[in-house]
């Protein structure tokens, strides 16, 4: 998929505002898709092909991530529960995006986790994530069938 660089130096932009939660992007794309379904002719016109392509591919990617199962309430509740752990916004964002289930993954996403979190705190974090963020229903079914607990010590 080729992407084209656009805009000469004359167009001006303001800087980035903030990290946008992936769950919000997923919801936005789903809503937009619904809207365009009723749009009829316009979505097939030549100019809209790019939008169709990027929406399709992004939705395809995001639907396989934990963000697709996170409603705004779930995200808000999760962030509130996370407050005592004093994680940065970037770290919380990654926990939401990846839903880590092992200590190794937590260490990747939280900087200097060995110094900031004890082993019990990491376990607690994994438990909180598991409780508050919905997992992949297919994966959980498979895990239940093979009767193996997730995660490595």
């Amino acid at each position: 998929m080729t992407c084209y660089s656009l805009f000469s130096q004359t167009d001006q932009f303001v800087t980035f505002t903030f990290f946008f939660f992936t769950a919000q992007v997923f919801k936005l794309l789903i809503d937009l898709k619904e809207q365009r379904k009723d749009g009829g002719k316009s979505k097939h016109s030549a100019g809209q092909q790019n939008l169709n392509t990027i929406m399709y591919e992004t939705l395809k990617y995001l639907s396989k991530t934990p963000s697709s199962r996170q409603s705004p309430e779930i995200v808000k509740e999760f962030l509130t529960t996370m407050m005592p752990h004093k994680l940065t916004k970037a770290e919380k964002l990654q926990l939401l995006n990846h839903r880590p289930q092992t200590a190794v993954e937590i260490q990747l996403m939280v900087e200097e986790s060995e110094e900031r979190l004890s082993e019990e705190q990491i376990e607690e974090l994994i438990q909180t994530i598991s409780d508050h963020l919905p997992g992949d229903p297919e994966q959980e079914k498979a895990a239940a069938e093979t009767d193996e607990g997730g995660g490595q010590s």
């Binding site: 660089s5 932009f13 980035f16 946008f20 992007v25 929406m55 990654q94 092992t102 990747l108 193996e148």
Partner: protein, 214 residues
């Protein structure tokens, strides 16, 4: 992974779209212009989030269309440095492992950022992690289509906007005493990606998901 970028631009609405709601016509034009395109130093634009301000519309002599300055916010794919992302291996080459996320393709993990020691298997065109345990060596292949978790180490923006024609090639007669400059680049064939992510998997927990799952 995604950011919201505030942008300002002038949108041209042709007369045959005057019957539509201004906001809708704006949204369509903005998406037509930006969706699935890389903006230099910003990122890959996904879709419009909202329009924050619409200034007055003007019609200029000789052009029946209206021109409106719009302030809007656009959803852009722009991972932050050190962010962890998951993708699929597209293919391997001498340059490294090429990863794709479906909507974004130009992700490269160079050989020095692979789990070491790594070697490139020429026959199968795959990179291999020569994992050593006490029991002996264990080759882990980085096959096409495998899911891979990597960290964003760097990002490269290349301005691929059209430049002027290259300096005249040898068919133009050279004047006496004047050196003919060679054409700028034999660039017709190769298109450079406007936005590339450089990744690394040189850490515990990174690399193929299958390496770390029980």
């Amino acid at each position: 992974m995604f950011v919201l970028v505030e942008m300002v631009d002038t949108v041209r609405i042709p007369p045959w779209n005057f019957d539509r709601q201004l906001n809708e016509a704006m949204a369509e034009e903005l998406n037509k212009k930006l969706a699935n395109k890389v903006v230099y130093n910003v990122g890959l634009c996904i879709c419009l989030y909202d329009i924050t301000k619409l200034e007055d519309s003007y019609i200029f002599p000789g052009d029946g269309a209206s021109h409106t300055k719009v302030h809007f916010r656009y959803v852009v794919f722009h991972p932050f440095l050190d962010e962890i992302l998951t993708g699929k291996i597209k293919y391997c080459s001498q340059e490294g492992v090429h990863v794709t996320m479906g909507f974004f393709d130009d992700i490269l993990i160079p050989p020095e950022s692979l789990q070491q020691p790594a070697k490139f298997d020429e026959a199968e065109q795959v990179w291999v992690w020569e994992y050593e345990t006490d029991e002996g060596g264990h080759d882990l292949y980085m096959d096409q289509g495998e899911e891979i978790r990597f960290r964003v180490a760097d990002q490269v923006f290349v301005d691929t906007s059209p430049t002027g024609p290259a300096v005249a090639a040898s068919d133009a007669p050279a004047q006496a005493g004047q050196a003919t400059a060679p054409p700028a680049e034999a660039s017709e064939g190769k298109k450079e990606a406007p936005y590339t992510l450089i990744g690394t998997i040189c850490e515990s927990g990174l690399g193929l998901l299958s390496w770390w799952n029980s």
